[in-house]
């Protein structure tokens, strides 16, 4: 089975990114394929490398980055949602005249078309959010 995953709520505020992470990990362990993980709404905040959660808490961004590296996952942050919320990669920061970028390793910023494409390509699209 090929899954497409949508994460639509922010890290730490909401369980969505944790549950999505555990689902993706379990699905991959069972031999399923994950076509893409698409971060939308406040879900884009998962992809900042500048979050510094307490050491005894789970490290949500780092977990996703490690999982992406291990399984060559495609973690996509919606550009429109990201721009509103201050998530930038190097190119976007330069294009928008901002003095910093904050996207974490393993994530990439792209358009909403990637969400639709994922829906077309995946056998099942699952949303983690409210």
């Amino acid at each position: 089975m090929k899954f497409g995953i949508v994460v639509s709520e922010g890290p730490y505020t909401h369980q969505a990114s944790d549950t999505a992470y555990n689902f993706v990990k379990a699905a991959l362990a069972k031999g399923h394929e994950v076509a893409r993980v698409f971060f939308y709404h406040d879900g884009v905040n998962v992809g900042t490398r500048l979050s510094v959660p307490p050491q005894d808490d789970r490290q949500i961004q780092a977990q996703w980055t490690a999982l992406a590296k291990e399984h060559d996952l495609d973690l996509v942050i919606c550009i429109a949602a990201a721009q509103r919320r201050g998530l930038l990669d190097e190119n976007e920061a330069e294009r928008q005249g901002k003095d910093a970028n904050n996207i974490a390793e393993g994530f990439r910023i792209s358009g909403l078309g990637q969400l639709i494409e994922m829906g077309i390509q995946a056998d099942r699209t699952i949303t983690f959010g409210d």
């Binding site: 709404h41 429109a80 909403l112 078309g113 969400l115 639709i116 494409e117 829906g119 077309i120 949303t127």
Partner: protein
């Protein structure tokens, strides 16, 4: 229909301005239209407020995006399902909603209403009939 055409349903459950879900849902619908998929929208719970007429957002400092719904026909989004029970529970009727129309290319471009009021039971069947359901 080619194999690559899937049925997408965008489910809108939240009021238009208290949270960003409605606006970012509409952004997906408009971008998705370029992919030549079969796109329908559903409005239930507080989502029915998204379609109300005479919205005025000056007081809250947000952009009034409700006119965009009237342009959906141009994007070949011609089915907006609205749940009857959700309207009833909020004291709304079809008259409180915008008059949203599309031109039916199979009927000499006759203008037809895009809003279809359906029961909760019918809404369940509509959802079961989709390939991809994205909920906002």
């Amino acid at each position: 229909m080619s194999e690559d055409v899937k049925k997408f349903l965008y489910v809108n459950r939240k009021a238009p301005y208290g949270t960003i879900y409605a606006q970012e849902s509409l952004e997906v619908v408009l971008i998705g239209a370029a992919f030549d998929q079969d796109v329908e929208m559903a409005f239930l719970d507080d989502g029915v407020f998204q379609l109300t007429k005479n919205q005025d957002t000056k007081g809250v400092g947000l952009k009034n995006f409700s006119p965009t719904f009237r342009a959906l026909g141009d994007y070949e989004v011609t089915k907006l399902y609205v749940e009857q029970e959700s309207l009833d529970e909020r004291g709304l009727t079809l008259d409180d909603l915008q008059d949203i129309q599309y031109e039916d290319e199979d009927d000499d471009w006759a203008e037809k209403p895009s809003i279809r009021v359906v029961s909760r039971a019918e809404m369940g069947k509509i959802m079961a009939n989709q390939d991809v359901v994205l909920s906002f």
